[in-house]
């Protein structure tokens, strides 16, 4: 951080780990004078949520407080549990895609990609390069969209409401792009097993490039809003620190892990999509506090803009879906001339394609971390088991470590920076 460091650690200010001065510790309050054992009885458990303006969805937190200091935290989930995995067992593979899309409802393209990738791996199907690039473009746009909403709602929780308006302004621009390519703003159902469902319209590339020109300046505006904002710094610096080792133990991935200093990003290590063709960096933090997480997300947006620009400029020509007619619908103009196409179309639409027996786990880098899809197939046209390894579900285990010992106000900041999406947690 290049700006003047106006915040000092509690130790530097002559206070103990949670910021109390010596006088306060010795103090005259009866709480201070009771022993640790008796202090246990002074714990006050409050219930935050599930209906709460700052819990980012319907998350319920049972917080044991001693004064303002959090001593224990228990998250209770399941308030938006939708039974997606169970419903997916009843539907053919194509029809599963809209179900899974609505799981982590801010990163819908990633949900689709994880599932389509798993099924493509089971089918041993290669997607054409144009489809791969289109997937990358849409996924990176979705990553920016997800970070915008995350940062906007984070700032809203911390009181910086302007950031919310600005982020949603950009978000609407991205949603216009989605609407242009697929017809819907959210939950577009744009990916299919074998590629994408339809080619992009004329003018899409130009609009995306316009967006790429616009976005870095806007990101600079966000940085200007919050980077040196004294209140924001006080609330996010040195709060919610969890060590890198502990995060790895818990299985946490994504911006939280990168903010703690671990350079782990599945886009760079796995080759599920041609990210090797693009030049981009992975922002890494140092301390692992909330400020680092904010900076990591902001810079990830910058890097995503770079990827999108390179992908659009290098978009190869070709088919937008694989040729395998047993899996992908034939183009409509063939239906009137070729009997085989008609039969394929009929079989695909009524029954769906069959997947040979097998199991596959397909992890990708979602905006919140490792999003994996596990599919078990048994040769029929419906999956036997679909399980989504959702990053927010695993990341939530870190909330306790982040919050215990800090203030309730820091709990809000920690939860916001964790960026949980309850749809993904509850599935």
């Amino acid at each position: 951080m290049s700006i003047a460091d106006t915040t000092r650690t509690p130790e530097q200010m002559g206070r103990d780990a949670i910021g109390r001065t010596e006088a306060q510790v010795i103090g005259t309050s009866p709480i201070e004078r009771t022993s640790a054992l008796e202090r246990e009885e002074e714990l006050f458990t409050i219930n935050m949520g599930p209906h709460h303006p700052a819990t980012h969805g319907v998350l319920r937190l049972l917080v044991s407080l001693e004064g303002e200091v959090v001593r224990d935290l228990k998250p209770v989930m399941g308030y938006v549990h939708t039974g997606i995995e169970k419903s997916a067992e009843q539907k053919s593979y194509w029809k599963v895609i809209p179900f899974l899309e609505r799981m982590d409802y801010l990163s819908y393209y990633f949900n689709m990609e994880a599932f389509c990738g798993a099924v493509e791996r089971l089918l041993e199907l290669e997607i054409p390069p144009r489809a791969a690039y289109l997937r990358v473009i849409h996924m990176e746009l979705n990553r920016i969209h997800s970070h915008l909403v995350g940062l906007g709602t984070t700032a809203l929780d911390l009181g910086a409401i302007s950031m919310f308006w600005y982020c949603f302004r950009e978000r609407d621009t991205i949603l216009d792009l989605f609407e242009m390519s697929s017809g819907a703003r959210m939950h577009t159902r744009y990916f299919q097993v074998g590629g994408v469902i339809e080619d992009i319209p004329v003018g899409f590339e130009r609009k995306v490039l316009e967006f790429c020109d616009l976005m870095p300046e806007r990101i600079d505006q966000y940085a200007a809003l919050l980077d040196q904002n004294e209140i924001f710094l006080q609330r996010t610096r040195n709060t919610g620190v969890v060590s890198r080792e502990r995060l790895l133990e818990l299985g946490v991935t994504g911006p939280l892990l990168r903010a703690a200093g671990e350079p782990w990003d599945l886009r760079k290590v796995h080759d599920y999509l041609p990210y090797d063709d693009f030049e981009f960096d992975i922002p890494i933090g140092t301390v692992g506090d909330n400020y680092d997480r904010y900076r990591v997300r902001l810079n990830e947006m910058r890097e995503s803009v770079r990827i999108i620009r390179q992908a659009v400029e290098g978009l190869p020509e070709g088919p937008f879906a694989a040729d395998d007619r047993k899996v992908v619908l034939p183009p409509r103009h063939e239906l009137s001339t070729s009997m085989e196409s008609l039969i394929h179309h009929f079989k695909l639409v009524t029954e769906g394609f069959r997947v040979p027996p097998g199991e596959a786990y397909f992890p990708i880098e979602g905006p919140r971390g490792e999003l994996g899809c596990f599919v078990v197939a048994d040769g029929s046209s419906k999956p036997v088991r679909v399980h989504m390894r959702d990053p927010s579900f695993v990341n939530l285990q870190a909330l306790r470590d982040m919050c215990v010992g800090g203030y309730v106000a820091d709990l809000i900041a920690n939860l916001a920076m964790l960026d949980p999406i309850l749809g993904g947690i509850d599935r």
Binding site: G78, L248, E249, G251, A360, G372, F374, V376, R385
Partner: protein
Amino acid sequence: MPDAPGLELIAQEVNTRHEGAVLGTSFEHGQATLLVSGDSIVEVLTYLKEAPGQEYDILSSLHGVDYLPAEPRFAVHYELLNMPRVERLRVKALLPDPGGDALPELDSVYGVFPGADFQEREVYDFFGILFRGHPDLRRILMPEDYVGWPQRRDFPVGGEPVIFTNTEHTVPGWIR
């Protein structure tokens, strides 16, 4: 991913340490799977996490599968990851259905991988697999007093039939 011979090596090493733990290996679609019996899962995972050549120290995912009608019916999958070598290994613990009201049991790996906390609770919630040694095994996504294990294959999907104007008399319960 460890390739097929690498997988066989791992299986052999695990078997030399813990007799009879590994029931088989499977290598498909570029992914390596180690089939393990339910009794020795903790030892196998500890070995895989700590042994100098293995060091699969990240648990990516823990999930359950119901293979009804195949036997053994349940399986718990552990997706392990080794970051420096970027290798993923799947360990599959197979559990038979004890029959009747009894629930299948498995040792919890919470002591080896603390990240298994919520995920084991989820497997318990949806499949009814008890994890011995888990600090706080209770339902996580379903209501606390829910009866039934929803993601078992013999649990009905539920929901209501869609009622159209001309099918009202065929839908049970709609007409009073």
